[in-house]
């Protein structure tokens, strides 16, 4: 008989590494047509990081995402970066980019101020222009200012900066300290169907509500969440490397079972409205946490469906059926 169940799991997750240095650097160069080039030492690993980083540079300079070309992943030309790891790119590299773009923007402000008869601190970068705060009609295009600064003043509009999140080392005896600068939070709720005659579990639906601070690009956050859930489903129900005498016996995709598109549940994603003052434009991160609560929610839903608590992952059909049978045997004895 098919039994349905619901289960929830919430979680928290830190952004960046534990205490160890975690810096990123960035360089932003403004072109004479008002577009810009961002140099970053991170590597695109499929999550859309370069797009998000370009958006952060664009926002600081008052230009569009498409106006920024991102150069990455070459140690000969790009500045240092701790790398695409630990859900740190948007937060740490993003903060470095804001600072680098601010340095470049300040060069533009100082070049434009005498041309507009104001002080540099009275200027803002917006809609591809350097304009006087409160008087948007008094403006010069970013491209013209960049050209003036470079060829007349002799200061190319290039900014570099690095960022390393402030932390407090953990006490070795008690673990007390400030190991991370910030954390994200999430809840996922799973609906499952369990066949109590075979032990087979089908995940029907996952509702995922995540906090990532400001979503720099909501579409890419949604993509991360969907991908994280697919890993969570595999961790919960299917994936396991098996050993015999220290030798892996299923090191191939025939015998190592992982979810395919047919195993994916219906996914509903929402983001929590949140803002972290320490992140770039309020952003935190979204990479790893998306895979954290899925298995816990599914296992709680299995318990809700058939009343058995599976305490070791993965909850394969064999394991679930054995637990159901054990429970029935126990009930039989009690009766």
């Amino acid at each position: 008989m098919i039994r349905r169940g619901k289960g929830m799991a919430c979680m928290w997750y830190p952004i960046g590494f534990t205490v160890a240095a975690n810096p990123s650097a960035a360089t932003v160069k403004i072109n004479t047509d008002g577009t810009a080039t961002l140099l970053t030492g991170t590597v695109e690993t499929g999550q859309g990081a370069l797009t998000v980083l370009g958006q952060i540079a664009a926002e600081t300079l008052g230009i569009s995402t498409d106006d920024v070309h991102v150069v990455s992943a070459d140690t000969d030309s790009t500045p240092m970066d701790t790398g695409a790891i630990a859900s740190r790119t948007t937060y740490v590299t993003g903060n470095a980019i804001v600072r680098a773009a601010e340095v470049a923007r300040q060069i533009l402000f100082e070049a434009a101020a005498p041309l507009l008869d104001v002080k540099p601190e009275q200027l803002e970068a917006r809609d591809r222009k350097i304009q006087v705060l409160g008087f948007p009609s008094k403006s010069i295009s970013i491209g013209k200012v960049a050209q003036h600064s470079e060829s007349v003043i002799g200061r190319p509009a290039i900014g570099s900066a690095s960022y390393n999140p402030p932390t407090v080392a953990m006490d070795p005896q008690t673990g007390q300290g400030k190991p991370f600068n910030t954390y994200v939070y999430a809840t996922q709720i799973a609906e499952v169907e369990v066949d109590d005659e075979t032990g087979e579990v089908e995940v029907k639906k996952i509702v995922a509500v995540h906090d990532c601070g400001t979503p720099i690009n909501p579409m890419l956050v949604e993509g991360q969440i969907q991908g994280g859930i697919s890993m969570g489903v595999g961790f919960a129900l299917q994936e396991e490397i098996l050993f015999k005498d220290g030798k892996q016996i299923n090191p191939n995709l025939t015998n190592y079972i992982m979810p395919t598109s047919l195993d994916m549940p219906e996914i509903e994603v929402e983001l929590v409205d949140n803002y972290d003052p320490t992140g770039p434009f309020g952003a935190k991160g979204a990479g790893e946490p998306t895979a954290v609560p899925t298995a816990a929610a599914i296992l709680n839903a299995i318990h809700n469906a058939v009343g058995v608590r599976i305490t070791s992952l993965p909850a394969t059909a064999e394991k679930v059926l054995a637990a159901i049978n054990e429970q029935r045997a126990g009930e039989g004895k009690a009766a």
């Binding site: 929830m8 997750y13 030492g41 958006q55 952060i56 992943a73 890993m231 050993f243 992952l313």
Partner: protein, 467 residues
């Protein structure tokens, strides 16, 4: 003496060795007769990419477009003139002393241009925190994924065949596979060091006193398994050693700055002599955060004067790259009648596999996160990572967080069931809020766990949902 055209031709001829000429012929590439333009490149641009302000826009990804058009170049798509291919021979045993390695028969094979063993690597160790892992094992193998020798040949197939001609003599050592067995230190993976290579304690309040004062005490042990990242793109790199003694390595690594530091250290070279270039990584999930073959390929390129490529097979990916730490987790929680958690005592044992890799970060995050996003005044978390003679466990999406979340959230439902409370209520009663104190007594900001619980429950229809 002036160089004549004849000399240059002679030099060029030397690049093709006699071994190349005796190698089996490569099947010529055939192109379909009809070879049309497959797609137009004048596609409409995404409006969101042109908007200001840029933050908050659903801007499309330039790399996504290249993926869709088949224009993305992954490392394995790169090819260079005179490029050859490397393969690595892996250990036959989980734990053994290497008595001897004889590569002579492999070297004599037509098409084989060079071999490499660990003794030829200037600094034969690496690792992000502890440098306890050999690039190629030269004295002891500690798991079946350890490489013992490498071959470079004109085709991948010849390189693979040559591995079978390498003779390695081993003295088999007793091995330990179970993390709780390894805790006893009866069989040591890295003697004389203890198998417990890192540990962590987090203490807050008085956990024993609070457990004694609790109305209900819950205890359970939870376990998680080893899983692989399974990126679509396996690890891949190409090394080109040039005439100035500078080496360029194209690699699927996700962290090139620190990768360059590691390559510089193993080769004993200045960072300025090394260039690491990435393209687009075809899936990382934590598995491509440390060097693997890069120093081997660099040295094989130096030996042969050729660009050398190695792309892992799916088997290499499972056996020799890192995987997720299995956790054994003992959770004891003390709760009062109203469902407030008064104390939580946790013991974590992490199966570290043969080498440290990213265990430092995993044990750190695992222990800090282990109590869950809840206000608990009395805490004790003790975590131990142990060496075993199994595949090295390292960074994987979540660094220990999915493991502990499975345990703490399962126990939250156990508590709710016993107290006759709704799972949502028990969580809301204990969840962090703005300004809460974390297990390390950090004052938390931009906390959104309650909001996520309420929002998810509303979206799902938690209260209305029935079986």
């Amino acid at each position: 003496m002036a160089t004549t055209v004849k000399d240059v031709k002679k030099g060029a001829k030397n690049l093709t060795t006699d071994k190349d000429l005796t190698a089996p012929a490569v099947k010529p590439l055939t192109l379909p007769k009809d070879n049309p333009v497959i797609y137009p490149l004048t596609l409409p641009e995404s409006e969101a990419r042109r908007q200001t302000p840029a933050v908050g826009q659903r801007a499309s990804r330039p790399d996504g477009r290249l993926h869709g058009l088949g224009q993305t170049k992954y490392i394995d798509d790169l090819t260079f003139p005179h490029m050859i291919f490397a393969k690595v021979l892996r250990s036959e045993h989980a734990h053994a002393r290497i008595i001897s390695i004889d590569t002579s028969e492999a070297e004599a094979m037509p098409g084989v241009l060079a071999t490499l063993t660990g003794k030829e690597i200037p600094v034969n160790s690496f690792g992000p925190t502890l440098q306890d892992q050999p690039v190629l094992a030269d004295s002891v193998v500690r798991h079946r994924g350890d490489g013992v020798a490498a071959v470079a040949a004109v085709t991948e197939q010849i390189a693979a065949d040559a591995l079978e001609k390498i003779k390695v003599e081993y003295e088999v050592l007793p091995a330990v596979f179970d993390s709780l067995e390894a805790l006893k230190d009866e069989i040591k993976v890295h003697p004389p060091h203890s198998n417990i290579y890192t540990s962590k304690v987090i203490k807050k309040g008085d956990v024993e006193k609070a457990l004694a004062a609790s109305d209900h005490v819950f205890h359970r042990q939870f376990r998680t398994q080893m899983v692989e990242h399974v990126p679509l793109e396996p690890h891949s790199s190409v090394a080109l050693w040039d005439g100035n003694g500078r080496v360029t390595i194209y690699t699927s690594l996700g962290r090139i700055t620190l990768g360059r530091e590691d390559v510089a250290r193993t080769l004993g070279m200045a960072q300025s002599k090394i260039r690491l270039v990435g393209t687009i990584v075809g899936g990382n999930f934590g598995g491509k955060n440390e060097i693997t073959n890069e120093p081997i390929l660099a040295l094989l390129s130096k030996k042969t004067g050729r660009p050398v490529k190695c792309t892992f097979t799916r088997g290499d990916e499972f056996i020799s790259s890192t995987i997720r730490h299995p956790f054994i987790m003992d959770y004891t929680s003390g709760v009062n009648k109203e469902g407030k958690i008064l104390a939580r005592k946790i013991r974590l044992v992490l199966d570290g596999g043969a080498y440290c890799s990213w265990t430092g970060t995993t044990i750190g995050k695992g222990s800090i996160l282990a109590p869950g996003p809840y206000n608990i005044d009395n805490l004790l978390v003790e975590a131990y990572a142990v060496y075993t003679n199994k595949t090295t466990t390292g960074a994987m999406r979540g660094f220990g967080a999915p493991q502990v979340c499975f345990a703490y959230e399962s126990q939250m439902d156990d508590i709710a069931e016993k107290l006759g409370m709704d799972p949502l209520e028990i969580r809301l009663r204990n969840a962090f809020s703005e300004g809460s104190s974390s297990p390390t007594s950090q004052v938390l900001q931009s906390v959104a766990v309650r909001e996520s619980l309420i929002q998810a429950s509303e979206r799902f229809g938690w209260k209305e949902w029935t079986q």
